[in-house]
């Protein structure tokens, strides 16, 4: 930032492609260059060399920015606004107005479950999760093709995170493309189709989660209702056929699912 600070090499030789309608994850530890990559796609930063294109438009141009809705990490919003006013403000910043904008504001607030009274309260009364959802509505107001989210669940509790993830999946179902960065890997696993892994500005891996994570030479089966005696028979049979049993026993539920199941219905929202 600024004119006279020293230059740091934030990204080197990054080649990246995101397909329409997919959920794409940018992974990496802090300082790996995820935010830098996003800012370059948005045109907030200029690359020293190379180029980027968004839906066929050069990154940073007005046409390109119209295609993207962005929610930055830990965003500060003008807190004296209400949720609805925030979305309206961002709508007007995108050049919208009048009755069309009002309709859109209402729709989006419903989508992110901030409709009605919740949308009228000032932002400073919102929880972190609600702020993120309001920001999401604001990012969507211009009806962009692509949604870019920088650490969307940072600082949000598990219930709120689950809501945001549900929203991402809903947007995917509506045909949107979602690019998001996170260092909370379990959350990425739930939603992403493809990921890229960055480290210190360089790309380490890229590919479909399925391809990356599947251990191809292993086979997992979950079975219910098999009596204890038959289990031992099955294990012996597999060994006879040349298979090596890597792990057997009752599967463990993820803590997050257990936690959410334990909460009463109302508090999950």
């Amino acid at each position: 930032m600024g004119w006279f600070r020293g230059r740091v090499l934030a990204l080197e030789g990054l080649e990246m492609e995101v397909h329409k309608g997919e959920v794409f994850g940018l992974l990496g530890p802090n300082g790996s260059g995820k935010s830098t990559a996003m800012k370059m796609i948005l045109g907030l930063l200029r690359p020293t060399s190379g180029s980027a294109e968004v839906c066929g438009f050069r990154a940073g141009t007005i046409a390109a920015r119209r295609q993207i809705g962005f929610l930055p990490e830990n965003p500060y919003f003008p807190i004296f606004l209400s949720g609805a006013e925030l979305v309206r403000y961002y709508g007007r910043l995108s050049g919208l107005g009048g009755a069309g904008l009002e309709k859109r504001v209402k729709e989006l607030l419903e989508l992110v479950r901030l409709g009605g009274e919740a949308g009228k309260r000032p932002l400073r009364t919102y929880s972190k999760g609600m702020l993120q959802r309001a920001g999401l509505a604001g990012a969507l107001v211009g009806d962009p093709e692509i949604l870019m989210l920088d650490e969307p669940t940072a600082g949000v509790d598990p219930a709120g995170s689950r809501e945001i993830r549900d929203l991402i999946l809903e947007l995917k179902a509506r045909g949107k493309t979602v690019i998001f960065s996170s260092h909370l890997l379990e959350q990425v696993e739930d939603v992403a189709d493809r990921v890229i892994i960055l480290h210190r500005g360089k790309k380490l891996r890229e590919g479909r989660l399925e391809d990356l994570l599947t251990r191809k030479n292993e086979w997992e089966v979950k079975v219910q209702g098999l009596p204890e005696g038959d289990r031992q028979e099955l294990l012996a049979w597999m060994k006879k056929k040349g298979g090596q049993v890597v792990r057997e026993g009752a599967p463990r539920e993820r803590l997050e699912d257990y936690f959410l199941r334990s909460l009463p219905e109302e508090t999950r929202r």
């Binding site: 007005i62 965003p75 003008p78 910043l93 995108s94």
Partner: protein, 281 residues
């Protein structure tokens, strides 16, 4: 076109609301109190002198308060937004950078204009009150009464308010320009204040530079040239003193200074937009 206006007015409106939330009313109140208190202080003097003191105090207070609000406000505009990271959510929109700069400026100047109007009304209010006091004291004898009324409700005071406002608008544009090149709010305020002070000497620098006689060292000549070319001539606004002195200032002169201010603001905003385009966020 409509979209452009919507975007600019969205930025302006938001900036205006943020400015209103600053502790402004306290400042205004302090100002009004100073004014009214000051009005009572000079009772040993003739009514012409008292009116002059009052008007001078009023316009100085408007200028000073406007200057402070303009400096603080403008310094917040861009460096402040960058610090708070609210600028990211704005600039990732299909919003041109120059629209952002222009919207910010108009938000700030609308707020400044509102402050100036309120303070000007306060000055007029106190002038009217003083007028009432004098008329009661001196009696309604026609000559003195006419002079008292003329001094108090001088229509030329409108020209003075416009000139004060224009001067503040130029200072605000300077601050916006500096805020596009700096990251520190202190730097922005310091530079703007410096240019404001130097602006009152610009006419001297201009004359010294253009008349080759006195100055021969080329380093000094370059410095003078720099000041003459890059700094506004704030002495042009000294018409305010003439108006307060009760002398005739024709509208043509005032309008010319207002026109100069307008063009200057346009140039500064264009330069600011230019600088902002090249800036990494």
């Amino acid at each position: 076109m409509i979209g452009c206006l919507r975007r600019i007015s969205a930025v302006a409106g938001n900036t205006f609301l943020e400015a209103v939330r600053q502790k402004v009313f306290a400042v205004l109140l302090v100002f009004a109190l100073v004014l009214i208190g000051g009005a009572n202080y000079f009772t040993e003097f003739s009514f012409q002198e008292q009116f002059k003191f009052l008007k001078d105090l009023g316009y100085a207070a408007i200028s000073l308060t406007g200057l402070l609000v303009g400096l603080l406000g403008a310094a917040q505009l861009i460096p402040g937004e960058i610090e708070r990271r609210t600028i990211l959510t704005a600039l990732c929109r299909p919003l041109r950078r120059w629209e952002f700069v222009v919207g910010k400026y108009f938000g700030l100047t609308t707020y400044l204009a509102l402050m100036v109007v309120i303070m000007a009304l306060a000055v007029w209010g106190v002038l009217g009150w003083k007028e009432g006091q004098f008329l009661r004291a001196e009696g309604l004898d026609s000559e003195t009464a006419a002079t008292i009324r003329a001094e108090a409700m001088d229509p030329r005071l409108l020209q003075a308010v416009l000139l004060v406002g224009a001067k503040l608008a130029v200072v605000a544009a300077l601050a916006v320009f500096f805020s596009t090149i700096a990251t520190s709010t202190t730097f922005v305020m310091a530079m703007t204040l410096l240019v404001y002070l130097i602006g009152h000497l610009q006419s001297v620098a201009r004359e010294q530079w253009l008349e080759t006689g006195e100055v021969t060292r080329w380093t000094v000549r370059i410095f003078l040239a720099g000041v003459a070319l890059l700094v506004p001539d704030f002495n042009l606004y000294n018409l305010i003193d003439e108006i307060v002195a009760g002398n005739v200032v024709v509208w043509r002169t005032t309008l010319e200074v207002l026109g100069y201010s307008g063009v200057y603001i346009g140039v500064l905003l264009a330069a600011a937009a230019c600088m902002f385009e090249g800036r990494d966020i």
